[in-house]
Symmetry: C2
Subunit: 264 residues, 2 copies
């Protein structure tokens, strides 16, 4: 981790701050433990889930919240920016546990992979990491998403989109977000908090497109958090022959995913 101005390496040398990745969650859409394994335990009980009652989450690799990545991006000026990918149902729990553990002071921008519950249902709690204003008079946090996701979220969270109140409607404190549409196209990058991201559209079930993202300055990182099948343009773009050799591929899939790994 590199949240202080400088950190001390294992060899004792003082090193300049650097970027890092914090996995806030790597679980499935219902997260782990599975509640039914605890309230109606089988005989013998589920080994994975029953551990959650005895091993604290921070020591238990099988305690997994909804998939989410926090990029602690340290740019050329040494400043840290915190870029959050996905805001699922367990977002508040992830903030309380991991933001405090890693001393993360803020969220500078948000990126969404898709609009399913496990990726967006924590959006109401973005206000929990924003400054307090009873009149909502704060700078909005930029949030990047596809047009399809935007249309879905506009009906799920109308109060996070519409700024004008109806006649007689009371002001309620809600998250302030600046919605920015990105294209489902590997060749249409965008900049979030100073870092460039390339969308990586993939199939998430055969009826649904979800986005992954390619980013990194010194390292070429692909983050694809909910995939059932690669689309040819994305598979090519993250290959050696396409956009160039990856340094790190982060892939999360509920079942199997077909991938010609010889590309790497």
């Amino acid at each position: 981790m590199a949240t202080a101005d400088h950190e001390v390496a294992e060899n004792g040398n003082v090193e300049p701050p650097r970027s890092s990745l914090i996995f806030l969650g790597t679980g499935c859409s219902s997260a782990l433990p599975n509640a039914m394994c605890l309230i109606q335990p089988s005989d013998p009980p589920c080994h994975v889930c029953s551990q959650s009652l005895s091993i604290p989450p921070e020591q238990n690799p099988n305690y997994r919240c909804n998939t989410s990545l926090l990029i602690d991006y340290c740019g050329g000026d040494g400043d840290h920016k915190y870029i959050l990918i996905d805001v699922g149902k367990t977002f508040r729990e992830q903030v309380l546990r991991w933001f405090t553990y890693h001393k993360i002071p803020q969220v500078d921008s948000v990126i969404l992979t898709h609009e399913h519950a496990d990726a967006v249902l924590g959006l109401d709690d973005i206000r929990a990491v924003q400054s307090y204003s009873s009149t909502n008079d704060i700078d909005p946090t930029p949030i990047y998403l596809s047009q399809d996701a935007m249309e879905s979220i506009a009906v799920k969270f109308p109060y996070l989109i519409k700024k004008k109140l109806k006649a007689g409607q009371e002001i309620r404190r809600v998250a302030q977000l600046d919605w920015k549409i990105v294209e489902n196209d590997c060749k249409k990058p965008f900049i979030a908090s100073g870092l460039q991201f390339f969308p990586l559209p993939v199939m998430h079930g055969e009826d649904y497109v979800c986005l992954g993202f390619l980013f990194g300055e010194r390292c070429r990182v692909a983050y694809i958090s909910d995939i059932s099948r690669f689309l040819p343009p994305t598979e090519y773009y993250i290959s050696k022959d396409g956009g160039g050799q990856l340094d790190l591929l982060i892939l999360d899939t509920l079942y199997k995913v077909s991938l010609v790994i010889s590309y790497w």
Copy 2:
């Protein structure tokens, strides 16, 4: 608590099982602790919120999830039914902590007070307390709500409402719910899992009506979890001169609420 067939009283006598109320949450809409008090602490730090890092939630009265009540209803036949009022953003956390602590094996029916995030945004996780079926072939859980709440939830959670899939749409496992409309009328009771409830419409801000509920066989209990002002029919109905003397009034309000307490 009375989840076993019989329980032992303090005097050592074995008593028949009885009903009880379990407060799953009594916090505000953003719940406690406030994340900003932890990730950008003031000097001195907030005494209430900073405790959440040192005192376990089950021992800390200031660790408060979204408002929610679980009624453990033991009817004349000795069977226990579990009736959940509200399913907010922190529902899953409440299940993991309190269902396991109190040995609650299931949810038999759900009642909603209104359709704000702190009352309904955990609905996706109702599947976490339902039997597993990849084809959603399980008995749905009855859920009681007002027509206004139904209309809002139908756009927020279309996949929890519509049963028919579009052509080409994949089956995804989702919560199975049987939606039942109740009227905003103290004189129109309904039965949930064998227990009768009377709706208690109240103002929640001057632009919004929220429901409380009156219930109980041997005790007359009013549960009103999000109120800014009483409406005259409800105030009269829960008064001595209206529906009869209350045994227990549970009232949760963010700011103050005007109430002529001489009624009680």
